[in-house]
Symmetry: none
Subunit: 194 residues, 4 copies
DNA sequence: GATGAATGAGTTTTCATTCAT
DNA sequence: GATGAATGAAAACTCATTCAT
């Protein structure tokens, strides 16, 4: 199944943006990268900023889809929910390093687009917050600093895109196992007596 | 004591680079920001790339100075050393958010400059590695994943520059206390019996 | 038949280069000269150096075409061949003074382009060398200094572009007659007894 | 005897102008070439154009000095006078290739300077003209085209600077001998009966 | 749907020159 | 006599974007 023209374009643009930064990336190069004329590209997207918006939107959407699918498999137990959410995040960062790295280009969104984008990404914060809060209430997470633990979990997962390589010494499964363990450590998980 | 012309320039350039990204930043704007003609700027720095290099170099230097001063106050105990190193890192990120954020522009260094920069930054990794290794040997750090714990510590500290504000609800002291605690949690610190 | 855009450009550039010298010539002025924006010019030629290369290439090509057509009309007799070659050269210098004068800008070719250009122009030397050598062998040219005579012939023909004007006292035909005579004098032509 | 500051400057400028062309040559590079600051250079010469003027003036002066010295050694015989003048010209071109090549930068003189320069160089034409005219009157030069022969002689001598090298196969003496012979051939020298 | 031509504002950088010290 | 700092204009070139076809 060939990707659509639109998809080809945003794939090429994403790579270009990540490699050069939004400001330094050139529409010319993006068009060349997907073997089409600049005018053809403009037929699908009205401008550079729209490309960035489309790319970022696609990124968060894909990430939240993955999170939802993962959480759907989990029961109500906060520890289990945190585990699958971290696992989904780790897998996403590992499998889509470019989609993950593009996030720093958020600063290049025009104010209007930035506002709507921030609204979307706030959900990520919220997802983790809710689970950690539930764990605290249930008494299984015992950290005194839930907010900072949450930030640490997100930060360490985000960093994966920068160093992990599929052909490196760590398999994706190793990675998931470790980061899930670290996340539970951070929230100071103490399993309830059965 | 007025800052030197060179210092004024790199301060202005750093802000511009962080706000716009290296590629989108314009020498014109940097010159304007420090009230100087473009040609005057070129009198001090031979090009845009040299500005970036100077800024990044200054950043790592300042960070390592802070680390050294901090470690000099600590004894040989790995836990203590980790605490002061994390504290120094947190303080640096909090007090110098711009110097901290510029690090992502590393990708815009030309290969030659990138290589020498990477060589410098590797020391940060090493500092943490050595302390954590010492703690493991001493039996006070018990994590099964020392490398990943290290990465998590660095990542969570780096993220501070993006959200913490001095006029926010958290004082710098709160911040240090929490991140030191989280770091010790991550390495699974178990104090030796007295 | 209107000249193509590309032709307009290199015609304008040639004039500019000859008048100002390559280094002092400005792309802005070249664009203005052919009533076109600078960016339009860049649409056809990727840079200043490419303009120079294209101009010089066109020049040698046109000259060698003229030489070939001329030599095709001559029999095997060295004196006759020298006459038509000199005549062709004189006519070319007289009719295309700008194409002729641009040759001094050879020094502004970048090394790579210079090498390939030199390879082309070497043919001019060779053409004269072969004919003079043939005349010596046949005993009709009796100069003791064939190489220097060749250089003198080429130099005197090249100089024509600098002083001859179509509306001056000398017609093109006069010019040809004289320079052919001088060339035969230089090689010390002594017709074989019939 | 160390060269004066002024001399150092125009020597450096001459080389720069010949290598780059007047338009592309930079005052900065000229200053560097003679190890002095730009401001120091401006202390001696008020501008770039003045450098060019000084260089060209020095060139013609040196050439005419050489011609005068040479002609002073010759008697009234036109053939002898032509010989020493050609010899002086050849030697000058061979010994001062840079001073010779700079002549093409004449086009970069501002109108005022150009006019006075042209007035000077006209003497070269005149010198040859007078001698050839005398030879024709005396019946020892028999060319039908004295003006064109003169131009050819000057052109072939001028070209020497472009190809002759002191360490090449031809000694300076060989060179003189040959060009004197070619010059006499061009004017069709026929020695008067004893 | 797609293209090549065109543009005007922008980029980084270099220039010749001036001037206070 | 000499210098480092500073400048405004101009250089070559690239940009995102538009439009007629």
């Amino acid at each position: 199944m060939r990707p659509t023209r639109q998809q080809e374009i945003i794939d090429a643009a994403r790579e270009e943006f990540v490699e050069q930064g939004y400001g330094a990336a050139s529409i010319r190069d993006i068009a060349q990268r997907c073997g089409m004329s600049m005018s053809a590209l403009y037929h699908y997207y009205p401008g550079k900023q729209d490309l960035l918006k489309a790319i970022l939107d696609e990124g968060v959407e894909a990430y939240f889809d993955a999170c939802e699918r993962a959480l759907a498999t989990a029961g109500p137990d906060p520890a289990e929910r945190l585990q699958v959410l971290v696992a989904a995040t780790v897998v996403f960062r590992a499998d889509h390093p470019v989609k993950s790295s593009i996030m720093t280009e958020e600063r290049s969104l025009e104010p209007e687009n930035l506002a709507s984008y921030r609204k979307q990404t706030a959900r990520a914060t919220q997802q983790f917050q809710e689970i950690i809060a539930a764990g605290l209430v249930a008494g299984v997470f015992t950290t005194r600093y839930p907010e900072d633990a949450r930030r640490a979990i997100i930060a360490m997962c985000n960093a994966i895109a920068q160093w992990w390589r599929p052909d490196g010494p760590l398999t994706r499964e190793d990675l998931v196992e470790r980061y899930v363990a670290l996340a539970l450590t951070l929230v100071e998980y103490r399993p309830a007596d059965r």
